[in-house]
Symmetry: D2
Subunit: 259 residues, 4 copies
Amino acid sequence: MTSPIRVTVWGENFHEQSEQDRAGMAERYPDGMHGAIANGLTELLGESVTVMIATQDQPEHGLAEDVLNTTDVLTWWGHATHATVDDVVVDRVQERVLGGMGLLALHSAHFSKIFRRLMGTTCSLAWRNSSDTELVWSVNPAHPITVGVPQPILINDHEMYGEFFDIPAPDELIFISTFSGGEVFRSGCCWRRGKGKVFYFSPGDQHYPIYHHPDIKRVLANAVLWAQPENVVDLDPPSVVNSPTPHFDSRDLADGVRS
Amino acid sequence: MTSPIRVTVWGENFHEQSEQDRAGMAERYPDGMHGAIANGLTELLGESVTVMIATQDQPEHGLAEDVLNTTDVLTWWGHATHATVDDVVVDRVQERVLGGMGLLALHSAHFSKIFRRLMGTTCSLAWRNSSDTELVWSVNPAHPITVGVPQPILINDHEMYGEFFDIPAPDELIFISTFSGGEVFRSGCCWRRGKGKVFYFSPGDQHYPIYHHPDIKRVLANAVLWAQPENVVDLDPPSVVNSPTPHFDSRDLADGVRS
Amino acid sequence: MTSPIRVTVWGENFHEQSEQDRAGMAERYPDGMHGAIANGLTELLGESVTVMIATQDQPEHGLAEDVLNTTDVLTWWGHATHATVDDVVVDRVQERVLGGMGLLALHSAHFSKIFRRLMGTTCSLAWRNSSDTELVWSVNPAHPITVGVPQPILINDHEMYGEFFDIPAPDELIFISTFSGGEVFRSGCCWRRGKGKVFYFSPGDQHYPIYHHPDIKRVLANAVLWAQPENVVDLDPPSVVNSPTPHFDSRDLADGVRS
Amino acid sequence: MTSPIRVTVWGENFHEQSEQDRAGMAERYPDGMHGAIANGLTELLGESVTVMIATQDQPEHGLAEDVLNTTDVLTWWGHATHATVDDVVVDRVQERVLGGMGLLALHSAHFSKIFRRLMGTTCSLAWRNSSDTELVWSVNPAHPITVGVPQPILINDHEMYGEFFDIPAPDELIFISTFSGGEVFRSGCCWRRGKGKVFYFSPGDQHYPIYHHPDIKRVLANAVLWAQPENVVDLDPPSVVNSPTPHFDSRDLADGVRS
C-alpha cells in the first residue's frame, strides 16, 4: 500500500471542555486528548499516514458518510457521554468496520456503543482510580503491534482496570497489564469482525498524560499499521449471496470426466 | 447437577400457520417445528430435562421475565419474522445469556436479532434452496457435542448454506458441512459470551423434516447438555466492580514480611 | 459417566529424597508432593475418582502400558530430572493423550519432555525465586475449572513465573497470575490435542506448601473433572483413514434423485 | 522491510528421480516440484524476494546452519522419505522457526517430522487418490493470505484429503476445501509458534500439476509475505529469563509516592 493510511482520530471532547476538568486537561493535553493521539501518530508514522480529527460535538459527531468512506482506521476515545452518541452514527461505524475499516477502541471506550455492539457482551470490568503503577506485558512477542515496545511498558501513574473483563475471547491476546495493587487486565486485544479489524488498548485515562508516553504512542502507531484494511475491494460489509448454480456439475461427475 | 435442565424451545411459529406453508408443515411437523425439537430433546434426554415451548405469537413472545429466569437453555428457531421480534425481549434474552443461560441458535436464526446482537457481525452467508445433499463432518471428535454422532451425518435433502459466513471466529469449531453442489459451511460453532454459551447449528430448514433426523436430534440433545450453565451462582451478567482496596499490601511488601 | 475417573498422579520424587531437600520436603510434604496432590483429589472428589500414584524411580517410571491403559487423567509434576525420563515412556504418554487421556501439567512440568512434545515450543518463561505474593485471577468465570474458586486466589509465598511464556496460544485461557514484583503469567491454560485435553497450571513449587492450599486443591479437582475423556470409544490416537468410496454418489446426483 | 525476503524452497526430490515416477514428473514438473514452487514465487513476488532451492539429497539436506540463518521463510514439501530426514536437521529447523523464521508446510508435509514436531499431534487425516474435483473456500476473506484469490479456487483434479485432520485448532483458519466425493478438509491453517509463523496448505500432490495453477501460486506468494519474520531482532528462540529484580519497588509502594 503506497498511498497513505487515512486515520480519523475521534474524541469525545468532553473533559477538555467541562468546567471541572478543563484546567487540568489544558495542562496535560493542550491540543485535547484527540490532538495528542493525532500528534503521536503523525510523529511516528510520518508520510505513511494522513491524520484527521473528529469530535462528538461536531455535526453527525464528525462522522458523516463521506468521512467514514475515506477513513482506513478510526480511533475512538469516549468516557462521559457514551449515551449521547447517536445510534445512526453507531450503525454507520459498525457497517464500515464490518466492511473493512480498522477500529482502535481506547481505554474507557470499552463502554462505548460501538465497541459493545461489535463485542456483543457487557464489556464491564473492575476498576479503581488511585494512581497505580501499571506494567504492560507482551504475551505475543513477534506480533506487529509489539514492534519496538519494551517488555514491560512502565506507566508510573494510571487508573486500574482489572478482570473480569467481559469480552469475547480475543482472536489474539497481545498485552496483559499488572497493577501495583495486584490486579491484572487483558489490556491489548485483537479481533476480526466482518472484513475489519478491532484493537482494544486500555492505557489512556484523561487524568494522566498517557498519550504523551513514547511507548504508548508506539503501540498506537503499530496498531494503525496492523488495523489498516487488507484485501478490501469495496466498502461494503459481507452480505447474503444467492448461489443458484451448484459448483459441482453433476453430469460431469456422473460421466467421470472430471479429469 | 442433579435437578433437570430447564429447556425452553422457542419457535417463530409462522410457517406452521401461514396459508402458503401450513399444509406442508402439518405433514412434516404436525406439532410444529418447535414441537419436533421439544419431542426430540425429551426422547433423548428423558428425566434429565424439562422442556417447555414458547412461540413468537404469545404475549412477550412467550419469554416473560419469569420464563427466562427459570430457563437454563433456550433454543431459537426463526426465519420469516425476525424483524417483528420486540427489542425489549431481545434485550432480556441477551442479558440472560450473558448471565449464564445457554443459547442454541438454529438454522435461519443466523439472522435473528438475538444472534446478531451476540455476534456483532452481519451473520450473512451464501444460500441456495435446491434440495442438496448435505454431509455434516466433525472436526472436533472428542467434543461433547459430537457424542454418538456418525462421521459424517448424512442429510439427503436440504437447503444449501455456504461460506462466507460472517461470524466471529468460533471459540470452538465443531462441524463443517459440504453440499452436493460443492459448497462448504461452518455448520456447528461454539462461543462463550459473558457467563453463557452459544451454539449455532445450521441443519433445520422448514421445507425438510430435518428435526426428525436421529443424528440431528442427537446433536441438539448433546448441545443442550453442553450449553447448560456451569459455575453460575446468579442470573446476572458480569457488571462493573469497584475495587477500592489494592490486593498487594504495600507495608508488607516494604517490610519484606511476605515470607 | 458413573464409573469413577481413574487418576494417576505422577511425581518425579526427587526433592523428596535428595540430601539437600529431604528435610524441608518431609515437613511440607510428608507424603511427597505426589501424595499431597493425590490426597487433595481424594478429599474433594471422593468416590467419583480412584487415585493411584506413580513415580519416576519406579520401573518404566511407573507408567507401564497397563497403567496408562487404565488411566483417564494423568497429573505430572517434574523439575530436576526431566532429562532422565525415558523417551519410550514419553512416546507412550503422548500417544495416550492423543488417544483421549487427560493430562494436567503442573508447575515446573512446563519443561517436561511430555509437555514440550505436546506444545511444540520451548515452553520457556521468566523466573525469580524470592517468595513473591501471587494472585491467581480467573478470566473465564463460567468455565468448569473455576467452580468454587475465589477471585483471586491468594498465595502468600511462591516462586515467580513470568511472561513471555513460550506456548501456543491456549484454546482457552482460564487463569492469569500477578506477582508482588509486578510480573504476570498465564497460569492456567487449556488445549485439546488429538482426542485428549491438556491443562497447564503453574502454582506448585517444591519450596512452598502450595498443594495443601484449599483453592489450589479445588482447581486440580475441577481440572480432573474437565480433563476426563469424553466421547472416547477406544484408546487409540487419530490415524490415517483410507476412504476409497466417495460420499456423493455421482449417478444419483446426475439423475437428480437425491430427494 | 525494504530488503528482499529470503525464501528457501525445500523439496524432497524423490518422485522426481524415482524410476516409477520420473517420466510423469518430468512432464508435469520439468524443474521439479521445488523448481515450480520457486518459479511461482519469483514470478509473483519479483524483487521483493530472493528464492533459493534446497533438497533432501544434498549434504545436511541443503539446510546447513548458514542456510537457515539467512532464510526468512522456508517452504517444505515431502512425501515418501519423511523418515530419512535427519533429526539433527529437524531440531535445527524447529529452533529456527521458534526463533522467527516462517514455515510453509505443503500437502503431504502434514506428515513431515518438522510439522509434527511443531504441532504435537499425529497430523493424520482421511485420504483417497481418485482424481476428485477440489474447491478451496476462504472463510477469512480479509486475511492477507487470500488477497487476489477467487472464491472458491477450482482444482479440477486432485487427491482427496479429508477430516478428521488431527491438528491443534488453528490460530486462524483461512481455507476449507470440499471434494466432489463429498469430503471436507481444513486446507489452509495458520499458527504462531515461538516467534515464528506456520502455514499449512494442502493443495499440491505430485501426481497433479497443482503448483502451476495461478491461484495456488498466488496463495503461496501471499503466504510468504504473511510468514516473513516480524519484530525479530535475533535468530534465537525464546529462552528462560532470570528476573532477580522485582518491577514494583516496594519502598515506593509503601511511601505511597506513586502519585
